[in-house]
Symmetry: C2
Subunit: 361 residues, 2 copies
């Protein structure tokens, strides 16, 4: 088996130990005589996995008992709709801070469900080169909530410091950077994340929500889309996606074994610095379109002098064993997604390649 | 590795060949250098799997081009809500035929979303011993649709002949019996099924919907919950649950190799007959609570003379290597779920055990 260097933006590379464990156990979980996929979601064998996944989310992020941790289906896209369906009542308005196409999509769903306004946007010539500063925010103190996207995979930007939104609940889509470092969950009303970048496979979404917000949720929407339904049933109201949750558990277990989120932050900052330094060292050739204090530690985007050189960079990179370096089709350029599971060695290979490619051009 | 005899009602046993293939390929799909779980949903490697899964659904069920085949998240429970959200407009009413707790749940969500009525129910003393006959149905000829549950896992009943609903679209939740036999899809407006009984793991839902119903769907609901969104994007509007879809593909491929749905029906009828005959052979000891022409070929439920004997049957069965024989907590008794992937040999073991247990009591 050969494993390529995988810079995919998501679904992304996973810790090989988590996959190897899944492979070993695929036909029989423990000594139960059946695959985790074949176990009842109401049986002891699966429930242990389910509860361990939730406990690991709590432990790694330091989630207090004031919050529920829910395991849901539908990805961040379903949360774009469920957040306003549950938390945006008639007569209320919600604030959205727009830093890229994912925030725009979330805002779009909120506008369909109720009243939503833009509290800030950093859009400029169809791009989003930065995260807004506190002074840029025009916040409604009566808003039902303020919604942000913590990391923008396409623009390559990331909130380094979260905004101060007073007593209004702060809601963050952390799909592309959850658990990249320790954060203070108590500053948030709700955090959600599709797992497929930092913490698991696609098909499972983690929702961390303050219990008072669960309770305050609207009850005129379908039961399956109410947070109360899933919170009351420990996310077992209907059959959960058992294998994705199992693999989430495996990945979080590896994260814990590697020293938790403080250690993850060190590794991630170190990896990102390698690439950003490689860009800065050749300013005539590589250029970051992102303002310095808004740069993402997860998705490093950069440009070469021409689109033709960028295409050649991607093609030569692939020949050199590196997958997923093409920037998003809406913005072009190069993108290296270096999530938690991306090893330092892969980044070193990329940086050496950047040096050689520059020399050869 | 020892595999137990697994009569779980769902998630249920899967063809061992489908799991072994997944195990072999778990760290590397083909010669791509990455797990299917780590591939981009927009890349060629995953797209081939995705499209093969959809093609196999079309081929096995004979789905014409008048229908879209969608791969979605959220299970049948999400469809309970999405069906009326999309297809039940203001001023319209939908008909629900109630044959168990799953139809009741679907009806409950429809009542939240709009106006729904009961066209028939077979509830009797909190149980559902039969499927209604055509003469029992009080259908509204102007209904937006008629909703049925094709197989009832708890009651152990199954529609052997589908109802005649005239020109009103017939919608069926086939979660627990899709692909147990060939059916004429053209009789339905929409068929949906959580995969975790007959066709795959939990976390993936197949929706087969007539294109005119897709197009007629409401556009005042969140985009992520519109059938139009998923149909227009070949179910790639947002990141799909890639591993569950991959495993669905593996299972459907096995179904095809084994002769398709005509062969599956033969095997399923043969297995079910073994158990029903074993019940009928000892009428003083085993008793089916289900009327003869309503009996399920997927979930065979039966009672023993006392709850104590039933508990002993389950416990002794487990010692004999048979998992999942306990009836649903709401009705008690015994339940053997013998879906497509349950081998005849397991049913033979059960039938021999039934004989011995009767003798020993």
């Amino acid at each position: 088996m050969a494993r390529v260097i995988n810079f995919n933006p998501g679904p992304a590379t996973l810790p090989v130990e988590a996959l190897e464990r899944a492979q070993r156990e695929l036909l029989e979980l423990g000594d139960t005589g059946a695959s985790v996929i074949e176990h009842s979601h109401r049986g002891k064998a699966y429930e242990a996995v389910h509860n361990e996944a939730i406990s690991l989310v709590r432990e790694l992020l330091g989630v207090s008992n004031d919050y529920d941790v829910l395991l849901m289906q539908g990805g961040a896209s379903a949360q774009f709709a469920m957040v306003p369906m549950n938390l945006l009542k008639q007569g209320q308005s919600a604030d959205y801070i727009i830093t890229g196409s994912w925030s725009k999509k979330a805002f779009g769903e909120a506008q369909i469900v109720g009243t939503a306004r833009v509290a800030a946007t950093t859009e400029k010539d169809k791009k989003f080169p930065r995260i807004p500063k506190q002074a840029d925010l025009e916040l409604d103190p009566k808003a039902a909530y303020v919604h942000i996207t913590s990391n923008n995979t396409i623009a390559g930007t990331q909130w380094q410091q979260f905004p101060n939104v007073g007593s209004v609940p702060l809601i963050a889509d952390m799909s592309s950077d959850i658990m990249w470092r320790p954060i203070d969950i108590s500053k948030f009303g709700l955090v959600y994340a599709g797992a497929q970048k930092n913490i698991g496979p696609s098909g499972i979404t983690v929702v961390i929500i303050r219990k008072d917000l669960v309770e305050a949720g609207r009850d005129d929407i379908p039961k399956i889309f109410r947070y109360t339904t899933h919170a009351a049933a420990n996310s077992l109201s209907n059959t959960p996606p058992t294998f994705p949750i199992y693999l989430l558990r495996n990945v979080l277990d590896v994260t814990k074994q590697l020293g938790g989120l403080a250690a993850a932050e060190k590794r991630n900052r170190d990896k990102a610095k390698l690439v950003y330094d490689a860009i800065a060292a050749r300013p005539d050739f590589y250029r970051s379109p992102v303002e310095a204090d808004s740069r993402s530690m997860m998705n490093v985007v950069f440009n070469l002098p021409t689109p033709e050189l960028e295409a050649e960079f991607v093609a030569e990179g692939l020949k050199a064993g590196m997958m997923g370096l093409k920037g998003h089709r809406s913005v072009g350029g190069i993108r290296a997604s270096i999530y938690n599971a991306c090893p330092r060695a892969w980044v070193e290979t990329l940086v050496a390649f950047m040096k050689d490619f520059h020399k050869g051009s």
